[in-house]
């Protein structure tokens, strides 16, 4: 998994990190955060995407080894959430790159993130 944090409020980011720590421990499903997109099978995107992020998100998606699964995490990732009316908003994630799974919530609980990604395992 490679984690891309857009213009978010960090809540989803720390919940993703919490997934790695002992209480939730996603490594038991064989999932691990990796340092570069070139090693990733899953791209986690959270936060609303602003104009500055959009270019970089597209670039990352192009660099990713295909097939890659994209997961939009949190209300902002799914729809833009509370920031959708902002002047720098460049569209929710699925308007920029194809998305395979949506995990709503502000922020989604670690259980919800794990449930979403485990569903993708069976895809």
């Amino acid at each position: 998994m490679f984690h891309f944090g857009g213009a978010s409020c960090n809540n989803c980011d720390i919940e993703i990190l919490a997934c790695l720590t002992p209480r939730f421990d996603v490594e038991r499903f064989g999932m691990q955060l990796v340092g570069t997109i070139r090693h990733a099978d899953v791209l986690l995107v959270n936060g609303s995407i602003n104009q500055k992020d959009k270019v970089r998100l597209l670039e990352l998606y192009e660099q990713a080894p295909k097939p890659i699964l994209v997961v939009a995490i949190g209300a902002c990732g799914c729809t833009g959430g509370i920031f959708a009316e902002g002047n720098t908003f460049a569209g929710p994630v699925d308007k920029i790159i194809p998305v395979d799974a949506y995990i709503p919530g502000c922020p989604p609980k670690p259980e919800a993130i794990i449930a979403g990604i485990v569903k993708l395992l069976h895809k």
């Binding site: 978010s8 409020c9 809540n11 720390i14 209480r23 340092g35 936060g47 602003n50 920031f83």
Partner: protein, 396 residues
């Protein structure tokens, strides 16, 4: 020929994700530059299109880690404009939420600092002990983060008196874990070797750069909004401002650890205070917000949060200005990092609590001449971790 090491741009654990460029000669950092804007969401502008009640949910999402400090400052600000005196029960509940947040934020930082030093056990353990605090939040407010507790003149949910023993129980458990962590950090010679005398900020540097929060307090600058501009229940309880003199990374760790003990003590006193107040007395009625200007301050885990609002008698703010603590603290990197080795710069940057986990994702070292990639983020963290190993071996 100096090499540029870009770090970032994505700092997902920070209010303002940035791109840092370290200009290095050999292993020594000669200059540092940073660039912001990756996380710009236009919150101040958005705020003008929301009613006062909705603004609370917006400012809560300025930062997910200190998601109470912004509503806290905004509530202080609006109550100044409308000239509202809140009830004592509200004050206690607000302070309890604020201090629980400080504990969870400092624990989060301690875990990440451990990770950068190569103590992944510290990272995992601290985050494990942080979970009961989040459970408390879930019990009190209904959510692990983004608590939606504040409104003008009160709080949205009461803490019923019969829940107080359960909260106390978690605090008792937490104190034991804090003792364990403090012992582990204070007695470890390797942590001393890695953090003492590293990233030093003198008292003058802090004043020059107007740094706030634990960063300033670790350099002997005795500032704390909770004491200097009292709000909520802080004047009603006994506590002290923790300071240290050295200004290095170790002092910052020490200040944050001891602050957590103070926070626990504040919460305990607030819980005692709650028992004497009438249940359900958590809001005062508000008719209208008059035209005017107001400022509100609150001490977030990272330092002073400042809000300015101008109103014109309507339902919306006319101007809303927010100043977050990390923004000023980041400027101190010029003092703390220049002249250090790259591996020490990692922890010096992390010491201000901008949460450095970006290095796991998008950091590369480029050769300035050929543009060839030299190091990536995980290698950078590894450099720092290797150095700890080296010291560990020497000391054995």
């Amino acid at each position: 020929m100096s090499k540029i090491i870009p770090i970032g741009p994505y700092h997902p654990l920070q209010e303002e994700p940035e791109l840092f460029k370290l200009y290095c000669e050999g292993e020594i950092v000669k200059d540092i530059k940073w660039e912001t804007g990756y996380n710009h969401r236009g919150i101040e502008k958005l705020s003008e299109s929301k009613t006062f009640d909705q603004v609370f949910f917006l400012v809560e999402r300025v930062c997910g880690i200190c998601s109470t400090s912004h509503p806290f400052a905004f509530a202080n600000c609006m109550e100044e404009i409308a000239d509202i005196e809140i009830t004592n029960r509200t004050k206690y509940i607000r302070s309890i939420i604020g201090e629980l947040e400080r504990i969870h934020s400092h624990l989060l930082w301690l875990g990440l600092a451990g990770h950068f030093l190569g103590y992944n056990t510290v990272f995992m353990w601290v985050w494990k002990y942080r979970e009961p605090v989040l459970d408390l939040f879930e019990m009190i407010t209904g959510n692990r983060n983004s608590y939606a507790m504040f409104k003008i003149g009160g709080v949205r949910r009461d803490i019923p008196n019969d829940k107080i023993p359960a909260i106390q129980e978690v605090l008792d458990g937490l104190k034991k874990k804090l003792d364990l962590l403090t012992g582990a950090v204070m007695d470890d010679p390797v942590i001393h070797a890695r953090t003492k005398g590293v990233g030093v900020l003198t008292r003058e540097d802090i004043i020059d750069y107007a740094a706030v929060g634990p960063t300033a307090r670790a350099s002997g600058v005795d500032i704390d909004v909770r004491r200097d501009d009292p709000y909520a229940a802080y004047p009603l309880v006994n506590w002290k401002v923790i300071t240290a003199k050295e200004g290095d990374v170790f002092a910052k760790v020490e200040v944050r650890l001891l602050e957590m003990y103070e926070s626990v003590s504040i919460i305990e006193q607030c819980l005692e205070g709650l028992k004497n107040e009438k249940e359900g007395d958590i809001e005062v009625p508000i008719d209208e917000i008059p035209a005017g200007m107001g400022t509100g301050r609150a001490e977030a885990p990272r330092g002073e949060v400042f809000h300015f609002v101008r109103t014109d008698g309507s339902n919306f703010p006319v101007r809303h200005k927010i100043r977050a603590p990390s923004y000023v603290n980041i400027a101190t990197f010029r003092k703390s990092c220049i002249g250090q080795t790259i591996s020490d710069a990692t922890i010096s940057l992390a010491a201000v609590d901008p949460c450095y986990c970006c290095t796991e994702r998008m950091a590369y070292a480029y050769d300035a001449v050929t543009g060839k990639k030299l190091l990536n983020g995980s290698e950078l963290v590894k450099l720092s971790q290797d150095r700890t190993d080296e010291i560990r071996k020497k000391s054995n």
